[in-house]
Symmetry: C2
Subunit: 157 residues, 2 copies
DNA sequence: CTATAATCAGATTACATTGTCTGATTTAAA
DNA sequence: TTTAAATCAGACAATGTAATCTGATTATAG
């Protein structure tokens, strides 16, 4: 449609934020992430696999496996995630496609854009974290009821 | 690929900026715009037609016709162009797809993003304008040489 | 008035992104 | 050691965007 991160980026960012809410080193199965964020399971799975290769998150195979945040979210830049998913091709050219856009001859959004992407860390303020932790807890619970039993997240050893 | 305005938006913005360089009420044929910006003629044509319908630019049909800026570029917001081309659907939801993103529970880029899109006017600083005016003049000249004769831009009456 | 140069409009094709499906591999628990 | 639950991997289908093509309409210049 219009202006946006690619779905892959968007989903990747959401996935990382979700893992951040769960806390460092908490292993969470894709199933839960996909259900909560309403993203096709196989799709988010692929994306998270890619982020694993880039050491932004980690994964644990086999039963009770899943993904977990590999470093604190206030150390993860939006830039890191976007580059890990889609490469840095986009950042080598002007957002508006303005020819020869540069510090000297900037397009109308030159400075603000670089700043937005490169200086933003993927962290939420504490008020927001609390709000979503509550929500996630409720949601996991309701998902749990709909399914036979269920995999709970647990700490990595 | 990654993060970006849709091509339609990007081209539309470039078109408006190009018309801005030519000055208010200067009629410029699509051919020139397409050649200079290296955009498929029919594609940019369609996009500019859309912007005409939204009164951001104007058009003049027939021989010596073309498009022209309908109001000063410092009155045209990035937001206006994007909405004219792709609708405001995108602005009704979070850029990151963060659920329930709001002023109270903001995603990591909530404030900066709104500001970037809604407060930016499609104008270039005077240094940049001078730089590109020179460039455009040279380019038009070289295009002119490659073709038999050529349509020059002229003022609307 | 006629020829020409431009916008306008719709249908169609090409391509990239998004999403789905199937199966292999790994690992923990019983 | 067997079973089940998870990641991992690749091929494929569906969708939407980008680009092209063809032709109609409009208006100016001569």
């Amino acid at each position: 449609m219009a202006i946006i991160f690619s779905k892959k980026c968007e989903y990747g960012i959401q996935g990382v934020l979700y893992l951040a809410l769960k806390g460092l080193n908490t292993v969470t199965p894709v199933e839960e992430i996909a259900a909560h964020l309403d993203i096709p399971r196989e799709f988010i799975s692929k994306i998270l696999q890619g982020l694993t290769a880039n050491k932004i998150i980690g994964s644990k195979k086999g039963k009770n496996g899943g993904f977990f945040l590999a470093k604190p979210s206030n150390k993860i830049k939006l830039y890191d995630v976007v580059v890990a998913i889609d490469g840095d091709g986009i950042f080598s050219q002007c957002v508006l496609g303005f020819p020869d856009c540069s510090g000297e001859y900037p397009c109308p959004v030159h400075d603000e854009w670089s700043k937005l992407i490169k200086d933003t860390y993927l962290m939420l303020n504490s008020q927001t974290v609390d709000h979503f932790k509550d929500k996630v807890t409720r949601k996991i619970h309701s998902i749990g009821l709909k399914k036979k039993k269920n995999a709970k997240s647990r700490s990595v050893n």
